[in-house]
Amino acid sequence: MEIFNEGRALAFLFVITLTALLYYLTEYAKKNDVPLRQLASFEAISEGVGRCAELGRPLVIHCGQRNLDHPEVAVTLSALEILSYTAKLCAETGVRIIVPTMLHTAYPVQVERVREAYMEAGVPDAFNENDVRFLSPHHQVYATAVMSIFERENVGANIMVGRWSGISMAVAETSARLGIFGVGGTDQPDNMPFFIPTMDYAIIGEEMYALGAYVGKEPRDIGNIFAKDVMKLLVIGGILLGVVLALAGIPLSNLMGI
């Protein structure tokens, strides 16, 4: 009997390596300092909260369009970390935070995250449950509703994290048109171009996941970033090795068993 399903041994090795690295590099980060490069969007969030505090306007943050039961849930989890961080900053500075959402599975989690941030900041009573709003699971309806929140509530900053599809254009453009300070992006390429001109700070691709870790600054987050960096270097190495092998006439796919 085979040990692995056909063509999946190397993939298993990949997952195991990444998991092991995650574990050991977290331990490493507990004892050692791992400096991270600057990430403009990270500083931009506190800048946005600061602006809202100065102007006395509310801040809007939304966690994108991927539900927790979707295979691509990872991006939403990062978005939730950013939500916690932002909510805490808002609670500390007395900025009203509005969290519109279209994610029926993440909605309860979002309520908990914001409630917890207010508790940590020592102002549990300032938390208004109605400011975490499930607007609609339908993209288009959500876009209209968010656009009217922008116009009616005199919003000061708009933070768009998580996965975004077509409506990002409408939401981001409306926020830019109203002069709302914008930080945002998406992890998939097709709608990224609309964030680059409309947002004050664009979050490009994997930066979204990294940002989720930057806001935590816990060893586990640093370890996570470090482990991914090592994996990326391994993949780059793998590609270069593949090129050398190809020049020698050996296809990489044979070697990988796919």
Binding site: L18, D69, T198, K232
Partner: protein
């Protein structure tokens, strides 16, 4: 209490990840396969409940607007009327009912599609106002976008026939390669989040680090 609140749900996640991932990599006994298939049905049912919760929340949010007579509460009444009418027909007639389908086809479909269509108008205005060659990066984006748009319009081919050769090259070579790097990075991050959840090093319900490691 905190064990049941944090630890157990966390272990549940790890167990589910372990059993589903195992089926992908290893030849597993049939009993595991059938457990996995059941798990996916369970998830579908659970997700349906979450959708109901979402609708209930809409009722709650707009209902409280009516009760408190907050601004624009009249629209909330309208919304709730449509909501309960739809639910009424849907429960009485089933999803194939004439009136239920009428509401879906003649209210939701046209209105929702039009909200999408409005984006088509923003595109032109954004082209005029937002897409400017402020930096070298923006200029590159602009030129590539301009050529792709020109290629998509039959008039573009009349203005410059060479567009038929240039754009396919851009699409096939630099574009594909750029996306590839981008995709690999995101894919690695996806696996990492999964592994972190499995190891309880990623928070789901609470902020990272708020209850130390091991919080799910």
């Amino acid at each position: 209490m905190s064990v049941w609140q944090n630890k157990v749900p966390g272990y549940l996640i790890s167990a589910i990840i372990l059993i589903l991932v195992a089926e992908f990599f290893f030849p597993v006994p049939e009993v595991v396969q059938s457990i996995n298939s059941e798990l996916q049905t369970f998830t579908a049912i659970c997700a349906a409940f979450a959708m109901l919760l979402g609708s209930a929340n809409i009722m709650k949010v707009y209902g409280s607007r009516v009760i408190k007579r907050s601004s624009n509460w009249e629209y909330a009444v309208l919304l709730l009327t449509f909501l309960f009418t739809t639910i009424g027909f849907g429960l009485l007639e089933g999803t194939g009912g004439i009136y239920f389908k009428w509401l879906y086809n003649n209210v939701q479909v046209p209105a929702a599609a039009t909200v999408y269509a409005i984006i088509g108008f923003y595109v032109v205005f954004a082209a005029y106002r937002a897409f400017r060659a402020r930096t070298l990066e923006a200029s590159i984006l602009l030129v590539a976008g301009f050529l792709t748009l020109m290629w998509g319009s039959s008039i573009g081919h009349v203005i410059w026939p060479g567009i038929g050769q240039v754009v396919p090259w851009i699409v096939d070579v630099p574009n594909t390669a750029g996306f590839r790097g981008y995709k690999i990075a995101v894919a690695i991050a996806t696996v990492a989040v999964g592994s972190a959840l499995f190891l309880h090093k990623q928070a789901l319900f609470q902020k990272a680090g708020s209850s130390g490691e091991g919080a799910a």
